[in-house]
Symmetry: C2
Subunit: 137 residues, 2 copies
């Protein structure tokens, strides 16, 4: 191994929460739209950099989640940033398939507040039932 891969100072710099996680915000590198927020543990973040694709920690499944592993909707990493408190990261990603949300929409943030209620304003681009039967990319 090289010095470069041995160096984990950049991971040690992060303030992981009590569960060893950090929120990760994925933003579309082209449109700058915020696509989704998920969690990463140390291994997930390290692998995200190593493989140049978003790899999260699924709290519900309690395992690494290579975004797109079932849907094909892989997120290719273009840039990774850390905030001033070292407790949130942002990822500029290229969203393969143009769909980040499990509901079949471009973004998970498809509900807008207006007049005392949340309104779904973005179209479903693909039926979720079809997303998860699709062959992997």
């Amino acid at each position: 191994m090289t010095d470069k891969t041995d160096n984990t100072d950049w991971l040690d710099a992060i303030k992981w929460n009590e569960d060893g996680l950090i929120p990760a915000i994925a933003q579309d590198v082209h449109s700058q739209r915020i696509l989704m927020v998920a969690w990463m543990n140390r291994e997930a973040l390290q692998l995200t950099v190593a493989e140049s694709r978003a790899i999260y920690w699924s709290r519900s499944r309690n395992r690494l989640w290579r975004k797109g592993e079932e849907s094909g909707h892989v997120q290719r990493l273009h840039e990774l940033r850390l905030d001033c408190d070292a407790d949130v990261v942002t990822l500029q990603v290229e969203q393969l398939g143009g769909i980040a949300c499990h509901t079949g929409r471009q973004s998970c943030f498809y509900r807008v507040y207006r007049d005392g209620a949340w309104h779904s304003v973005d179209p479903v681009l693909k039926d979720p039932a079809r997303i998860y039967e699709a062959p992997h990319e």
Copy 2:
């Protein structure tokens, strides 16, 4: 009071965490840059809508934090969105003063990962010591 202000269904729809909080991502309405992430409790979110400006819950100070109350760097609300899991909100904001970060930078996400390290790549626009002695707006 009107029916509209009595209605809190939109707040009940949110999955607050065990501390009664939700992460809020502020994004610049003009540049679409992600400016910061902070927390809101129920009252903070309600007031954010009522006053059309970002009001967070400061976990360190354990009180409401009207963004800009000391710095003048108020965030005027343009749009509020909720994600599919109802546990993160995004705010499109107009950032007064052009500075969201307490370090005097436009965004809190001023560190980029490159070659095994975080690199500060964004300029300090105003000395933090001067930000917090400025008169309130």
